[in-house]
């Protein structure tokens, strides 16, 4: 194509900076990961999340009892060697139920946020990239969703759909989309006007290519952060719905539902309430700490 008689001579840029960079290959995501690993609190959060997922997966192996098994003789016992977290009024092992309850929480957290994220990404991308009429329609629709308090909206949807795990996914998933859409739209808007997008267009890249290859990877970072933090919120909403009897139905073990059942015995058997409550707190804390760390890690100014 071109004559190649140009010697790759050392140019003025061959400064120490160049030599140094040979050893540190990095990109936005690799950089973020490196910064994240230095953040102790974030790694604690990460450890909690991993531990929780492992517990959820291997629940039947870890739990000493069957979560719905009633041992009549052991009703309402406090924590002991036989029943680590005690038993509830029906004689079920609370340790076992807390372990199995993690399955519901993790599922709700991940699936519901997954739904919100997918819908939000799609509409946020449409609104941000095309602007104008799609933007107006989508953002006004989002405003309608913002008008409902999260919990109230969830209660309303659950009342219509009826209780059940799938319906919880739908309710929480649909309610969350507007937040993701607005966030994604914002970051697309800021990236859309960057010079490298104009440069890509000048290279003859198609709209599709520009969105998927150039805008998306750059706009996605804040979504990861918000998504992670949102898992905690989704878990709390699920617990609240189950507490109100609109969520997962007994005898399936869910943390919110366990809280609700133990409410009557708060004075006589506080452990019934303490352990599932504590599980919720730890889980949400894990996701929030990790999300917080991610946010710092993705911010280049924190370098």
């Amino acid at each position: 194509m071109y004559p190649e008689n140009r010697e790759p001579e050392a140019k003025e840029e061959a400064t120490p900076e160049l030599a140094e960079s040979k050893y540190s290959r990095s990109s936005l995501y690799k950089d973020a990961w490196r910064r994240l690993r230095k953040n102790k609190l974030a790694m604690l959060g990460f450890a909690i999340i991993i531990l929780l997922i492992l517990i959820a997966i291997f629940a039947p192996l870890i739990a000493p009892y069957n979560p719905t098994e009633r041992i009549k003789a052991d009703s309402s016992l406090g924590p002991s060697a036989k029943h680590l977290f005690g038993t509830d009024i029906l004689g079920r092992d609370i340790f076992t139920r807390v372990i199995f309850g993690s399955r519901i929480s993790i599922q709700v957290g991940i699936v519901a946020v997954g739904i919100s994220l997918t819908i939000g990404l799609f509409f946020g991308a449409l609104a941000g990239y095309f602007g104008n009429i799609p933007d107006t329609i989508i953002m006004r629709l989002a405003d309608i969703f913002f008008a409902f308090p999260y919990i109230l909206g969830a209660i309303a949807i659950m009342t219509i759909l009826g209780p059940g795990l799938i319906n919880i996914f739908i309710a929480i998933g649909i309610l969350g989309w507007a937040y993701f859409a607005r966030l994604f739209r914002g970051s697309i808007l800021s990236i859309k006007n960057k010079e490298y997008i104009e440069a890509a267009r000048a290279l003859g890249a198609s709209n599709f290519r520009i969105i998927t290859k150039h805008i998306f990877p750059n706009a996605f970072a804040p979504m990861i952060v918000y998504g992670t933090m949102n898992v905690g919120t989704a878990i709390i909403v699920e617990a609240a719905l189950s507490f109100l009897g609109l969520g997962v139905q007994p005898p399936t073990p869910a943390w919110g539902e366990m809280l609700s059942e133990s409410l009557k015995y708060i004075n006589t058997a506080p452990w019934m309430m303490f352990f599932p409550g504590f599980a919720i707190v730890i889980t949400v804390l894990g996701f929030v700490l990790f999300g917080d760390g991610l946010r710092d890690a993705f911010d280049p100014r924190m370098k």
């Binding site: 190649e4 790759p8 140019k11 840029e13 000048a202 290279l203």
Partner: protein, 335 residues
């Protein structure tokens, strides 16, 4: 049509529809570009030089900006009439562009190699391996040392000058006939500026492509361009070869520009004369000549009707009623 002309722009008008009114960024620009030549477009900020360049590939921001009139003939095809998909085949292929700021014109999440290969793969069917070899050749062409290793670098690991070299490599990836450089050296420091311009000139001669260089640096134009179009207020005010522009300017604005730069070729020690006043808002342009409000040679006619761009003498186009007087010497340029 003259076969030597590779690009011909006729009466181009690009307007922006903003909340404050219609911005007539480009309002009647005509020029042509010959094979293998370097054309300079000079003007101050807001004179419409960048918009002219963006209009050629229809890269003006949608939906606020629009080409409302004019023809842009490239190899006989009117670019303004092409559909988006057809236009994409030209962008970065036959006509490519280099942008002002190399620090932000590369995508931070991809490696240099990745982005170079993208520019190749978009227009040519090629295996990844071949594209990679091509990318190495391109980096070598623009003088990046150790091109094979540098392919895996990320933009932030490159200096400004190196990034601009990469931008040039990307622009040259498909052997374009025209390279549009929109202030390619504004963001670079002076020594690097010279290197980048030398490189562009050298590559132009090698590949026999044409360059449109947009700048407000008259020194750059003097050194590299063979013809110059001076723009003011969205219109060309003077268009001629480099010698005419620098030694026999016939438009008061060009004259003002020449009086406001230091010249090493003139012995007399004189104070530099700036052009008084500021350029008019492009939203409500005056009825007559856009430059009239700052012009020392203004006559009544100037404020009522815009002087058309006329060929005063061979290939010297000027949009001024008094150009002839400057030429004949009855009007002093030092006024």
């Amino acid at each position: 049509m003259d076969n030597n002309k590779i690009l011909e722009v006729k009466n181009l008008r690009t307007h922006f529809y903003t909340d404050d009114g219609i911005v007539k960024a480009v309002d009647g620009v005509s020029f042509d570009l010959k094979k293998g030549e370097t054309l300079g477009i000079v003007g101050e900020t807001g004179s419409g030089k960048s918009v002219t360049a963006l209009s050629i590939l229809n890269l003006i921001p949608q939906p606020t900006g629009k080409i409302i009139e004019g023809e842009i003939l490239f190899e006989g095809v009117d670019m303004t009439k092409l559909k988006r998909r057809e236009l994409q085949k030209y962008r970065g292929n036959k006509i490519s562009m280099i942008f002002q700021d190399p620090m932000t014109s590369l995508n931070p999440v991809y490696t240099i190699g990745n982005q170079l290969m993208e520019s190749i793969v978009i227009h040519r069917r090629m295996s990844k391996k071949n594209a990679k070899e091509e990318a190495v050749k391109l980096l070598q062409l623009v003088g990046i040392p150790e091109p094979k290793k540098r392919l895996t670098s990320y933009p932030h690991e490159f200096s400004g000058g190196m990034r601009q070299r990469v931008m040039i490599a990307m622009a040259l990836a498909n052997d374009p006939s025209i390279l549009i450089a929109d202030e390619p050296t504004t963001a670079l420091d002076v020594t690097i500026q010279a290197q980048i311009l030398e490189l562009m000139d050298e590559l132009k001669n090698k590949t026999n492509s044409s360059i449109i260089i947009i700048t407000h640096d008259l020194g750059v134009v003097a050194k590299y361009a063979s013809r110059v179009m001076v723009m003011y207020g969205g219109r060309p005010v003077e268009f001629s070869n480099i010698n005419n522009i620098f030694y026999e300017p016939l438009h008061p604005y060009t004259i003002g520009l020449m009086n406001s730069i230091t010249r090493l070729d003139e012995k007399k020690k004189e104070k530099l004369k700036p052009i008084e006043g500021t350029p008019p808002s492009l939203i409500d342009l005056p009825k007559g000549c856009v430059f009239a409000s700052r012009c020392n040679y203004k006559i009544d006619k100037c404020t009522s009707k815009y002087p058309p761009l006329k060929e005063i003498k061979g290939n010297h186009y000027v949009a001024c009623y008094r150009a002839k007087e400057f030429m004949e010497g009855s009007l002093s340029r030092k006024g």
